[in-house]
Every structure is written in structure tokens, then in C-alpha cells.
Symmetry: C2
Subunit: 161 residues, 2 copies
């Protein structure tokens, strides 16, 4: 939203309470929340696994998860591994999953500007194998999330330096 003159705009054209982005920052804005979302995006959902991988204090994780459940991004789902007891994993709700374009856009940005430009994750169309990315495009034509296939490529030989 550039101003043809050099003078900065004095007030944003959309007030905070009408702006979806500003409202979203109340819910998804701190580093831990993002990191937790990333873990769940990858399918990691056990308390200890999340905690281990991102190195978050347990009390902080517990608090964030509660918040994310309350905000409808995450829910607790029972699962069993073998004969052990019923356990619970944290998984993204549909509402949480719809943050996928945001996470992927941030990933693209980070790959380009904070790394060497190489992506660590290939995203392709499940049906056609076409490589995908996040972009600003004419409305319509976006693939539904269930059509996405993710392929980690970080540990292929080219990526090992």
C-alpha cells in the first residue's frame, strides 16, 4: 500500500478491530505459539515430543496448549500405541489447519531470507505431482489442503554440507 508521495500515511485505512490480521495477532503472535503450530503442522502432537523438539518449558507449553484449545486452533485426541493406555495427542482443528498457507508462506519467506534460499520441504499436488507454493493469485483455483503432499528434502545429499 504505497503512497505515491513520500509522506507516510497517518492512519491505517482499516481499523484494528476490523482487520482480520490484527485480530489474528491476538491469537497467534508469539514465538512459542508459532513453534507449536509448526510441530502440529508436521504431525507432532505428544506433549513430551513438542517439548523436546522446540525446547519449551513445560509450564509454558501447557499454558499455550490450553490457550490454543480455547481459541479453537487445537484439540486433544485420544490415541493408543500398541497395548498401552489411551493417550492424548494435540492436533490441529480445521480452524488451525487453515493456518497452513500462513505457515507455508512464512516458511517460503524464511527459506529465502534467512537461509540459503533452499527449501527444506517440497509441496506437491497429490494428484498431479505439480510443485506448489503460496502465492497471491486470482481468486479461485486454490488447491484444498487435502490435495497437498509434503516431502522433506532437507537431508538429501545436496542439502548436506
Amino acid at each position: 500500500m504505497s503512497n505515491p508521495e513520500d509522506n507516510p500515511i497517518r492512519k491505517s485505512p482499516v481499523p484494528l478491530e476490523q482487520c482480520g490480521a490484527a485480530l489474528a495477532f491476538d491469537i497467534v503472535s508469539d514465538r512459542w505459539t508459532w513453534l507449536i503450530l509448526r510441530e502440529m503442522f508436521y504431525g507432532v502432537g505428544r506433549f513430551a515430543d513438542i517439548q523436546d523438539e522446540i525446547g519449551i518449558p513445560k509450564s509454558v507449553l501447557s499454558g499455550r496448549l490450553s490457550q490454543m484449545i480455547e481459541n479453537g486452533l487445537v484439540e486433544k485426541e485420544p490415541y493408543r500405541d500398541g497395548s498401552a493406555r489411551t493417550r492424548h495427542a494435540y492436533v490441529l482443528t480445521q480452524k488451525g489447519r487453515e493456518l497452513t498457507p500462513v505457515i507455508l508462506a512464512l516458511m517460503q519467506w524464511g527459506d529465502k531470507h534467512l537461509k540459503d534460499g533452499k527449501r527444506a520441504l517440497d509441496i506437491t499436488d497429490k494428484r498431479t505431482g505439480t510443485p506448489l507454493k503460496v502465492a497471491i493469485v486470482p481468486e479461485g483455483g486454490a488447491l484444498p489442503l487435502r490435495r497437498l503432499t509434503y516431502t522433506p528434502i532437507w537431508d538429501t545429499p545436496e542439502n548436506k554440507v
Copy 2:
């Protein structure tokens, strides 16, 4: 990245330090930073205007701006309004501007899930007037940022309730 069985994945396939998203969370990591980015996305760049609109303490704003300058997201640019002195506004660098798809994706998400679904900002192709959005699509075909036109629509009659 769903797991066909019900067992959660134990470890994300891309380690933190290889994941562009995780790296980005170190840089854009708190609510104030996001809110400031949003202001600048809209072209608001004067210290006092940012401070007024998002209600951030001056010391916090000052510190965040310094960080964002250091991280290359923002730079200070001189400008003049009329005959007054040269002043400085904070503007997004190219690196910062390339967070536009992230901000817009978050806005779309927020409009849908935290509001009534109505967007407050129309995005259209400068050349064709085609409505645009953020989506996951085949590579290629994304519009460059300079082709985007933003039109606030929040205060049209339908939006006044």
C-alpha cells in the same frame, strides 16, 4: 502432513534449524512486531502514528523498531511534509515487504475465523482489476507485489452495523 495411522509423529521431518518457518519465528516473534508490520504494510510509518494506533508503549516501539531495522525488515527514510524539516519514517525494506503474502494470508484467516467472514480489504490486480487472494497454487503465476492494489472496504454501507 497427516499420518494415516492415529499415532502422532514423534519428530518433525525438518529440524528447526533447517526450517524457514522456524527461523522466521525468531524474527517475527511477538504481537507487537506483527502489529508494527501491519502498520507499515498499510503505509503508516511515523513513530507517533504507529504508537497511537496500536497503543504500544514508546519504549517498546523504539526497541522493536531497532530490532526490525537490525533484522533488515525495516529502514528509516527521510521525508518532508511541506516546509517543515526533514523527518524520518519507518518503511518496510524489500525483505520486509516480502512478508506481504504472510500478512495477507493471516488477514484472510482472521477475516474468516475471527470476524463474520467479510474482508475489510479488497486486493486486486492493478492491470486487470481481478480480485486476488493468497492461496497455495502451482509454482509460477504469482503476481509481483507491485501489481497489487488494495482497497479498504470496511466502511462501505454493508459493513456498517
